[in-house]
């Protein structure tokens, strides 16, 4: 976003984006958290999160998140992959590690790979009973893979 030439998106679109992006992210998180019981889950939440980024990219350009939103230096382009793509690469790597790691944790406890369990935390203040599903960890892994993967694709292709 350089000097506000008319080719750019207008302030109207930018302002709406600033309002809509948090809304999308909240929705995404809601879908992630409720996925086990209601429509949603790691994948949908992840894609929705990625679309929030996509919207930002489209309206503000690729560097905006890096330079303005996160207030970091501009990428020194050492060819593709850019820093952003590299970081998203790490994100989906970590996502995979979370998903697989959770499965392996079950093995450590003597169950087959990817065995999931549900625990009910009882007698809590405010919440009384809280259901904690190990599957959420898996879903979280899915979420990170999707977010990281899609951001990589968007940033790499967008940079073309």
């Amino acid at each position: 976003m350089s000097d506000g030439i008319q080719r750019e998106t207008t302030v109207v679109a930018k302002t709406v984006t600033r309002i809509v992006v948090p809304l999308i992210l909240v929705t995404a998180i809601a879908l992630l958290l409720q996925g086990h019981n209601l429509p949603g889950g790691g994948f949908i939440a992840g894609v929705l999160t990625a679309t929030a980024f996509a919207l930002t990219y489209i309206i503000y350009g690729l560097d905006y998140i890096q330079t303005e939103l996160l207030d970091r230096g501009v990428d020194v382009p050492d060819g593709v992959p850019t820093a952003l793509a590299r970081e998203s690469g790490t994100v989906f790597g970590i996502g995979l590690a979370i998903a697989a790691g959770g499965g392996i944790a079950a093995m450590v406890l003597g169950y087959p790979f990817l065995t999931q369990a549900v625990a009910f935390l009882e007698h809590l203040p405010v919440y009384h009973e809280l259901e904690v599903a190990s599957a959420f960890v898996f879903d979280l892994g899915v979420y990170f893979v999707v977010v990281g993967g899609l951001l990589t694709i968007l940033s790499v292709v967008g940079a073309e």
Binding site: I44, G79, E131, V145, L150
Partner: protein, 805 residues
């Protein structure tokens, strides 16, 4: 006496070990590696000699579960080939020490040649068909490498490939023959065995049963043909002889070896070995015809030769024809012919090849027309040639005469016994022999007559090159003399006894009478004598017209359709240049590929429905909620519009209609997760499309009407397949569908403790399936997503730095 297992194994192992260490030896000894190899061959010879009095088999397990063993068998025939391979081997290696001086690739040469010898020894002693095949193919491989020794010469490469193609392919025919025998043995003997000889359960021990079983299965002729093709390919029988003349591209010692004691002898060995198993009328028709035709045709071709090695090569084929013809004939003379001529041919042919090598080496040319009068410069060589060439010609009292007499006798007996067309046998035998006589004399005449002026000074060969042919010449001479002396009662007993044993190997077991092989000059006017006389007489009369005959044969040979080479060459050339596959099938066009794919899928699927007699349900109306119908209608309209989209953007946007409609379909089908996923994915794909479309050209021209119509037809077929599939699969109503369990177990039960393991614990059954019941699928799914991202990075990154691998 039973043979010694260790010794036999040593015989086989020694050459291969020798080959294996040759690289080291060569580093130490250099060109003198020849003598190392000769020592190996000598060692083999001695070891074989130590087993000369034995008879029987030894067995080494190899692949018990397949019934394959490394069993070895010693009898006359095995010993004969063993002696030839190792004995001639000694001479060949020795000779090579002189001949290969300063030649390139000697290390490889000696290693391969030893392996070649070892393979031949393996062929000789193998008693198991698989083991036999093993060594059989190894001789082909080794000879391939040896023939291609001069690897940069086009002719060498051509010759090597030709021999490989013909002999290895022939071997495969033979292998099938073996397998049929193996399978039939199961009926005939009770066990499916690969054991040919040397045990109670061997095929030879049940020859009659096997013949019977083959006959009743209608497989006798096929087996004969299969094994015959294998043998014919190896021993250069017409029309598979064509590789042999080209094989002269090999260094001359190799040619000598290959033509006398190895390779080609494997073929006749096989015929001799299988003779007792398969000797029937069919056998006789096949092999006698094959042998005599080969003998005649190749003898004529030898006359047309312009190169001394070529002449000898055709001659080899011709003599192998003689041996095969002998083994082909059912009487005992036939077996004797085969056995004895193997010996005789080995001696004179090896000698002649080595002579040819000396001539080529010292005179610098192998062209027949350029050579003559060499006796002055090469007196010893000339002497050897006299003995060997006259033996080859079948002139008494030289060695070849006796075996040829046996052939004449055998053919005559058969004709007398069976009459009719069988009278052709003696006629053809004589006819072919005339040509043998002619080219033999022609070869001999290299040493006589005037020495052409163009031929410069011809030096004497080094002793190391002279000794081996002399040894062979002397041996041939001794065999010939043996005939003379035995005429007067002094028999060359070791030889005749040995040949008797060889003959026994090829005579049906339980045939009744004992075999006593003997040979001598004719003392009575038997038909065979007359035939010999005719041969020599006609030959003498015809010799002055040799050049005319030669030109005549050359004219005949030049008719392409008469020449097997023509078929081979056009065949391989056509093969090497087949463009059909790449021009018509692998066109590089996706549409060709995709059309084939979808049509094949449709054909298979519809074919299967038809074959299984699947019935389509009867049409009973629409019965779908109106909104759903509308949504599907929009989807179809959208999809139709995509096919006619005027631009990429229009198409992408139109495609989104389909995406939206599918999402509504999912909503109306009570699949909220799907609807959400579908739409978020749809949107991202749209974004990606737009990201990419910008960089692409906008529009491509309309396809031709014809092409559209054809593609439309293909599409209709696909549509019909899917239509049928949907109808048939929605009709099905199996019991106990697993989803019922998943739906039951996904949630949280009303009563539960602190932990839940055997319940999904989530209200969203779909999600529970994804993260619990089938989390493994999801693991794979996210791997794909991760890889998709990696792929994008990779494609675009490699573009910049990956141009150079």
């Amino acid at each position: 006496m039973q043979p010694n297992q260790t010794v036999l194994l040593a015989v086989l192992a020694l050459p291969f070990l020798g080959a294996a260490v040759t690289p080291l030896v060569y580093r130490a000894l250099g060109e003198r590696t020849a003598y190392f190899a000769a020592a190996i061959a000598g060692g083999c010879l001695l070891l074989i000699a130590s087993q000369a009095s034995t008879h029987g088999s030894v067995t080494l397990p190899w692949i018990p579960s397949l019934g394959v063993s490394l069993s070895l068998y010693v009898d006359g025939l095995a010993l004969l080939i063993g002696f030839l391979a190792s004995g001639v081997g000694v001479l060949i290696f020795t000779y090579s020490g002189g001949y290969m001086h300063d030649e390139p690739g000697q290390m490889k040469y000696y290693a391969t040649l030893q392996a070649f010898m070892g393979s031949m020894l393996g062929v000789a002693f193998a008693a198991d068909l698989v083991a036999l095949f093993l060594f059989w193919e190894l001789t082909s491989v080794a000879s391939f490498l040896l023939i291609g020794h001069y690897r940069s010469e086009e002719s060498s490469k051509y010759a090597a490939r030709k021999s490989m193609l013909i002999t290895v392919a022939g071997g495969l025919f033979m292998l099938i023959g073996f397998l049929v025998l193996h399978g039939v043995a199961a009926d005939a003997i009770g066990t499916a065995t690969f054991r040919l000889v040397g045990s109670e359960n061997s095929m030879l021990a049940h020859a009659d049963e096997i013949q019977e079983a083959l006959r009743s299965a209608g497989l006798l002729v096929p087996v004969l043909l299969l094994i015959g093709i294998g043998a014919a390919a190896k021993s250069a029988q017409v029309p598979l002889h064509i590789w042999l003349p080209n094989a002269m591209e090999a260094p001359t010692p190799v040619s000598a070896f290959l033509h006398s004691a190895t390779m080609v002898k494997a073929g006749v060995y096989l015929v001799g070995r299988f003779r007792p198993l398969l000797l029937t009328d069919e056998w006789m028709i096949l092999f006698a015809t094959l042998g005599l035709v080969t003998m005649t045709v190749t003898a004529m071709l030898a006359i047309a030769a312009s190169d001394i090695k070529e002449l000898l090569a055709y001659s080899t084929a011709s003599h192998l024809g003689l041996i095969v013809a002998g083994y082909g004939l059912s009487n005992v003379y036939g077996a004797e012919t085969g056995a004895f001529h193997i010996v005789n041919h080995a001696l004179f042919k090896a000698a002649l090849f080595l002579v040819a090598g000396i001539v080529a080496h010292e005179a610098g040319t192998r062209a027949i027309d350029e050579l003559g009068g060499l006796r002055h410069d090469l007196p010893v060589t000339a002497a050897v040639t006299v003995v060997a060439a006259l033996g080859m010609a079948g002139v008494p009292p030289f060695n070849g005469f006796y075996s040829k007499e046996l052939l004449f006798e055998a053919t005559y007996e058969v004709a007398l016994h069976d009459g009719g067309v069988w009278w052709l046998l003696p006629v053809v035998a004589v006819f072919g022999s005339v040509f043998t006589f002619l080219y033999s004399i022609r070869f001999l005449m290299l040493f006589f007559g005037e020495k052409p002026h163009e031929l410069g000074e011809v030096h004497s060969p080094p002793a190391i090159m002279l000794a081996p042919p002399v040894v062979l010449g002397v041996l041939a001479g001794v065999v010939g003399l043996g005939g003379v002396t035995s005429t007067f009662g002094v028999h060359l007993t070791p030889l005749t006894d040995f040949v008797t044993r060889v003959v026994e190997s090829s005579v049906a077991h339980g045939g009744g009478h004992e075999i006593h092989f003997g040979y001598h000059l004719p003392t009575k006017l038997k038909p065979a004598v007359v035939m010999s006389a005719i041969t020599i007489g006609v030959g003498l009369v015809a010799y002055p017209f040799f050049d005319h005959l030669r030109d005549g044969v050359r004219t005949l040979r030049s008719v392409p359709l008469l020449s097997p080479n023509f078929y081979y060459d056009t065949g391989t050339e056509a093969l090497d240049e087949t463009e059909f596959v790449t021009t018509h099938l692998q066109t590089g066009l996706l549409r060709t590929y995709a059309t084939a794919l979808v049509l094949a899928v449709s054909a298979m699927t519809l074919g299967a429905y038809a074959a299984a007699g699947a019935n389509l349900p009867a049409f009973t109306g629409v019965g779908l909620a109106l909104p759903l119908v509308l949504v599907l209608l929009v989807a179809i309209v959208g999809a139709f519009a995509v096919t006619g989209a005027p631009s990429h953007v229009a198409g992408v946007l139109t495609l989104s209609i389909l995406g939206f409609m599918v999402a509504i379909f999912y909503i109306l089908a009570s699949a909220p997760d799907l609807a959400l996923t579908q739409l978020v994915v749809e949107t991202l794909v749209l974004v990606l499309f737009l990201l990419v479309l910008d960089k692409l050209p906008a529009f491509y021209g309309e396809p031709s009407r014809l092409r559209s119509a054809r593609d439309g037809l293909v599409s209709v077929v696909v549509g019909a397949t899917v239509f049928t599939t949907v109808l048939l699969s929605t009709k099905a109503t199996p019991n106990d569908v697993i989803a019922e369990f998943l739906a039951k177990r996904a949630g949280v039960p009303s009563e539960h403790g602190t932990y839940l393991l055997d319940w999904g614990g989530g209200g969203n059954i779909v999600n529970v399936i994804l993260v619990d019941f089938r989390a493994f699928d999801t693991m794979g799914e996210i791997s794909v997503v991760a890889m998709a991202a990696l792929s994008v990075v990779t494609i675009l990154a490699m573009r910049e730095r990956g141009e150079v691998q």
